[in-house]
Amino acid sequence: MQLSAFGQNVAHVNLATGRFELRPTPEPWVRRYIGARGLGVRYVLEAGPGVDPLGPENVLCFLNGPLTGSEASMSGSWACVTKSPLTGTVTDSHQGGWTGARLRWAGFDGLVFEGRSAMPVYAYVEDGRIELRDASPVWGQGIHQTIAFFQQRYGVKNLSVNAIGPAGERGNRFAAWLNEDDRAFGRGGTGAVGGAKNLKAIVIRAASKKSQVDDRQAWKQVRREALDAIRDEVNITSPRKGGLSVYGTNVLMNVTNRIGALGTRNSQKTSFGDRAEAISGERVQETILVGDPTCHACPVACKKEVEIADGPWKGLRMESVEYEPAWSLGANCDNDDVASIAKLIDQCNDLGMDPIELGNVLSMYMEATEQGWAPGGGGLAWGDTAAMVSLTDAIGRCEGEGELLAEGTALAAAKLGHPEIAMAVKGQAVPAYDPRGLKGMGLGYATSNRGACHLRAYVAAAELGVVPGEAEPLDPLEWKGKGQLVKTFQDLHAFSDSLDFCKFSAFAEGADHYARQYATAMGIEFGADEVMAAGERIYNLERHYNNLAGFGAGSDTLPARFTQEPSSEPGSKGHVSELDAMLAEYYAARGWQEGVVPEGKLRELGIV
C-alpha cells in the first residue's frame, strides 16, 4: 500500500461492458484536490454538470483519500461522490466502518462506475481484480439480507459489503448505501444513482495491510501526536471519558434542546421541552445501550448499539441511535419514544434511506395532514409511531402514499402545493440544529454545496464552546462574524473529507495535525496553510460545478420559517436567522458574487 502513489489505482468500471481499466489520475488533480471528496468532485465535473443524475452518463465515484485505511487515527472513511438526484448539485457522502480500508488493501484508490448495466450486478473486488457478477438473487432484498447472502457466499472474514436496498432500486431520491456495520453513505440520494445503474452492491475481500511510508519513524511520530490530541480532548473524543465516546453523537440532544435550537414539530418550535431527555444520549446509555462498536483505526467508538427490551419492537438489536435521526424521527415528528426511533432507523438501514431526509419528509407530511393538505384518504398524525413505521416501509418501496414522499421533502411538499412547509435547502432537508438558536449553522445550511448540511461547516461546536487554543467560544445568537467562521470550517472540512478522516477528528485535531500526517505519508512538504488553501480550492470547485449546473444568485437560502417566524422558546426566544446579513459577510470572505465564483477566483485557485 503505497501512499505516495495515491491516485494511480483508480478503477473506471464500465457497467455496460463489464470491463474496467486502471486510469492513473492526472497528477495535478491529486495535487490540487487531494483525494476522496475533492478528487470525486473533479471526476463529476469531468462528466459534465448537465447530466441526468439517474442517467447512464452520471458517474458514481467511490473514492478513498490518501490516508484511508492507513494506521492514522480515524482514517476509516471513504467518499461517494456523484450528481445528486435529490438536489441536482454535486454531492459527497462519507461512510465509516472498514469498507474503504478494505478497498485500499485490495489494491485500489477508488472505483468510478460509468454507464448502466443491462441487468442487476454487484462488483466483486479482491487482490487487484474487479468482476461484475449477477446480483439477481439479492435484487429486491433489504440491505441486511443482502449482506447476509454475501457473507454466506464469501465468508465473513476480511469481507465488506456496501449495498443498496429497495429504496435505491426503485428510485427513492434519498436512497443510501450501507455496509455491514450499518455505516452509510447517507445523504444526497447516492443509492438511487446505484439503483439507476443496476449496481446492487460492492463486495470487497481484503486482509489488512500496513501502509508503505518511507520515513517510518516520522510517520509514527505524527500519528502519535494526533492520537495524543484525541486522547487529551477529555470532554469529547477521549476514549471512555469524553461525551462523544461515552454517549455518542446523541450527547447533543439535551444541549440543543436547552438553548432553543432543537427543531420540533417540523421546526414550528425550537425546543422539545422536558420530552427531549427521553430520546437523549444519556437516556439511551442508561436504558438500552448494549455495545460501542468502532470503525477502522478509531479509538473514540462513537457508535451506539442498542437492544429494545419491551414493547412492539422488543428484541430489536441495531446500531446506531445517532443524534441526527433521534432528532429527525423524534422531536421533529413529536415523538419521544426512543424504541420506535431505533426501529425507524433500522428500517432506513435495511431499506437504504437517509433518516434525516425521512424524518423531515414525515414531519412535513404531518404538518400537511394537520392543515388538511394531505391527499384524500391519506395523512399522518404527529407522533403516531405505528403509522410512521408503516409509512416508512411504503416510502422505502416507493409504494402507495410512499411514492410521493420518496421524492424527498422539498419536491413532495411542492407537489402538495405547499413548498413553504419543506424545511430544506437546494432540495435537501435540514439537519438537527435550528438556525434560530445557532446562527452559524443556518449560514452553513444555506451555503452548503450539497443542500442543507450540518457537516460542511459544523460550526455548532464553536458555538457550543469547542474552539481550539486560546480562541473564545462564539455566541450562537450573534450573526456578526459567522461569515468568516463558516468559510474557515468549510475549507478545513473539505480538506479532512479529502484525506479522508472522520469529521469528528476535528474536535481534537487541527490543520497542523492534518498537514503533518499528509506530508509524512506522501513524502512531500505540506503545511497547515496549504491545508486551508486546498480546502478552499475544493469548496470553490464544488461551487463552480453547481454554478454550471444552474445554481446561481438566490440559491443560498433558508426556509422562511427560519428567517421570518421568531423562536418562542427559552434560549433563542424572539430570534430569527439574519441570513441576508450573514450571506453578505460570507460572500465577501469567499470573494464570490451573489453565490457565484467569478472567473478571477477560479484562476487564482488554479481551478481553471
Binding site: N235, G465, P476, K573
Partner: protein
C-alpha cells in the same frame, strides 16, 4: 438561604450522581456564588468548570434560561432567581 435546582448532563451526571441537584445559596446570591457552591460540593467538577483564576472555563457551559453564562452581560455577577432554569454541561460536540 434558598435552594436552586441545577440540571446536569452528559459526563457531569456520573460525577454528581444524578440528573439534578438542589444547591443551597444565599438570598442575594449570584451565578458565581452558585458555581462556587457546586465545586465545593463536587470538587471533581472544579477542573471542568473553572479556570485557575476562578473564571468560567471555556470548556464548560452553564446556561441560565437557555443562555450561556459567558454571553450574559453581568457574567458571574448575574443575580440568581429561583424561577431560573440552570443547566450545566461539559463542552459537547457530535454531528
Amino acid at each position: 438561604m434558598s435552594a436552586v435546582r441545577v440540571c446536569f448532563y452528559a459526563t457531569f451526571r456520573p460525577i454528581v450522581g444524578g440528573k439534578h441537584a438542589e444547591i443551597a445559596v444565599g438570598d442575594d446570591a449570584t451565578v458565581g456564588d452558585l458555581l462556587a457552591a457546586i465545586v465545593e460540593r463536587w470538587p471533581t467538577l472544579r477542573e471542568h468548570l473553572l479556570r485557575p483564576d476562578g473564571a468560567l472555563s471555556k470548556r464548560a457551559n452553564l446556561f441560565v434560561d437557555g443562555r450561556a453564562l459567558r454571553f450574559l452581560p453581568a457574567g458571574l455577577d448575574t443575580p440568581l432567581d429561583p424561577r431560573q432554569e440552570i443547566d450545566c454541561f461539559p463542552a459537547v460536540a457530535g454531528g
